[in-house]
Symmetry: C2
Subunit: 386 residues, 2 copies
């Protein structure tokens, strides 16, 4: 569906209709659309011989009566939103594997289409994207960490995806905005709505400078089901998911599950073990194989194409005495730090033969590690801590 000529108007209208016919993340619907196409399925559901299970059929019938796909498209247009579907140039194909992926809870399936606010090209903006998500009730620590990681990831040219919520989501979007890079908010409501209402300004700002997307038609309000379904889009758009603070049972853990289901990397930022907000993250690392990350560079190392962001191995400060031969290191250890000592004293302290110690001291002096001063040896200042 996502290659070749642009989709027809009928295909688009059928997808708008299917979007409304059931709740989002209906794995069965996504599979049937992928197998037989949206137009055919829509026709089938409208016919009296619809092949759904009786209960679902009744739900579908209730919704069919209210359908007005062309009207939905018009309403979306009025709030500056478009409906992007597979086959469109800007469809982000990284969503497609959701249909074959293991469902999470009762949910699954690629979105039937995405309602998109913002002038940027969706697929291009999403070509390199990282999800940064976490607790709504974040701590100052978590917020600071999310800002910093989102900013670093953005500066490297990656788009930060999050859910526009309070706490970590807000901090993640802010970190990206601070880097003057587009960020993407995935909503659990229609394109004409904003949630939470306190974030109207933020969401509108993101729509002007980045993108606001959802798979819910105009007028739809958020429900718990839709929040969880929304998380699959955050995970599905992204190369990997960074969780910054999360309770043990949380939306962020759900987004992590979607990411696992897509076999993409889940990363977690640790925090104090005394913080309930970090418990969920520690659990992801402990029991679900999430990678511990502490900064943007480590995130990039995970999500970037092989070899592109390889980090130098941090081994701590390099010391001038690194690489000394064993004997010389032992003799250097035996030279007192603050006072000078003669050969006898050093030999006794080192517990080595005087002849070996004398030779070692000579080598150490050549390297500038020790100094001979009136027959007594002392450490050179730069070696006092070595």
């Amino acid at each position: 569906m996502s290659a070749g000529s642009a989709p027809s108007r009928a295909e688009r209208l059928a997808r708008v209709a299917l979007c409304r016919l059931t709740e989002p993340a209906n794995p069965e619907l996504a599979r049937r659309v992928a197998a037989g196409g949206a137009e055919a399925l829509y026709e089938e559901l409208r016919s009296p011989r619809g092949s759904s299970a009786p209960e679902a059929a009744a739900d579908v019938a209730a919704r069919l009566a209210d359908l007005d796909p062309a009207g939905d498209l018009r309403r979306a247009e009025q709030v500056g939103a478009r409906f992007v579907i597979p086959g469109d140039d800007e469809w982000p194909e990284q969503l497609d594997p959701l249909t074959a992926a293991e469902p999470v809870g009762h949910q699954g399936g690629a979105p039937i289409g995405l309602w998109v606010r913002g002038r940027l090209h969706l697929a291009e903006t999403m070509a390199r994207a990282v999800a940064v998500v976490g607790a709504r009730s974040a701590t100052t620590y978590g917020g600071d960490v999310a800002v910093e990681i989102a900013a670093g990831v953005s500066e490297a040219g990656y788009t930060v995806v999050s859910g526009g919520a309070f706490g970590i989501d807000l901090a993640a979007h802010r970190g990206a905005l601070a880097s003057h890079r587009p960020t993407v908010a995935v909503m659990a409501c229609g394109p004409d709505r904003v949630y939470p209402l306190d974030h109207r300004e933020l969401i509108d700002h993101i729509a002007r400078t980045g993108l606001v997307v959802s798979d819910l038609a105009p007028g739809c309000t958020p429900t718990k089901w839709r929040f969880l379904a929304r998380n699959r889009i955050i995970a599905g758009l992204s190369l990997g998911t960074v969780v910054v603070e999360a309770a043990t049972r949380s939306g962020a853990a759900n987004t992590a599950s979607w990411t696992e289901s897509l076999h993409r990397p889940v990363m977690g930022v640790p925090g104090p073990i005394t913080s309930a907000q970090s418990e969920g993250v520690h659990r992801l690392i402990r029991t679900r194989g999430a990678l511990l990350v502490t900064r943007a560079a480590e995130v990039l190392e995970v999500v970037a194409p092989m070899g592109e962001h390889l980090m130098p191995d941090v081994v701590g400060e390099v010391r001038p005495t690194d690489g000394l031969r064993l004997l010389d290191q032992q003799v250097l250890d035996a030279v007192p730090i603050s006072v000078a000592a003669d050969l006898d004293q050093i030999t006794r302290h080192a517990g080595l033969a005087a002849s070996s110690v004398e030779l070692a001291l000579g080598r150490l002096a050549d390297l500038g590690h020790v100094r001979l001063d009136q027959g007594r040896w002392r450490k050179a200042p730069r070696c006092r801590s070595a």
Copy 2:
């Protein structure tokens, strides 16, 4: 060496001598002792045809002149210390694999013997031991965490092993002492010495209630080499090592290396990524496969015999609405939280057929999740947050 009859006096004296002949953790010496026995090796080194390399031979010769093994034993006895060697009933055999393990840096090998202060039986006290180590310049957070984990591990009947140093070591010993359990301090100096001097009272207290051990003869003072060599004994005595706070290049990281070398588990307690003291721990988890642990129970799960300390899987609070069928959960989501709503309102919000919604509300009422009140539905109090 560690089974059968008790070692002879000659064997013990030979081991005292070998302890003094070279610096500790000499892998070659440990291998030769393991292969040919201590007595034979001591005789060989004393003979003019000693088979060591020339440089080492000179060092050995320098030390041979001062040897007085019987005197060392007497000096140890004066400070209440005994010399425990393989074959003694109380020799902790878990040290023996150090000789075949991969060396760390230039060091390796099981101790030739251990100088022990304290009335407890060494092997019995060490039968179940966990090392808790970390930065000397610990934060309050790290200290609190070390106390708590050491206390929890102790209360479960495990002996906490550490190095008696400032910071995390001190906190680990304190946590064990607070649980009125013996703790073991491994020193980098002879049994007649204490390091750091500020910890004289602590170390003496540990000697009275637990054990203080080292592989350094009376009179030996600590050096950098000896601190690193000491770490192999901490790791070697323990079923696993918990690192609480560590700089990227630190003694704790060295103890972790010894533990890895013995193929025993390294555990790390995470902390704020903004704390330099947690950097080394995060690095151990990120790049060296250390297990993230957040409490004593998680440590026990790792070190205890299979199945003995299995933890219940923490999945967050269990909610009364867990296990609801999909449709019922969706309908419950559509019932307003604070006000009552009639069937029409709920049906519209749920986007389902009225007949399905009515049936679902009936089931939810039976389960006590919703209540019908003058023709309008409301959530039962316990479901308001579900």
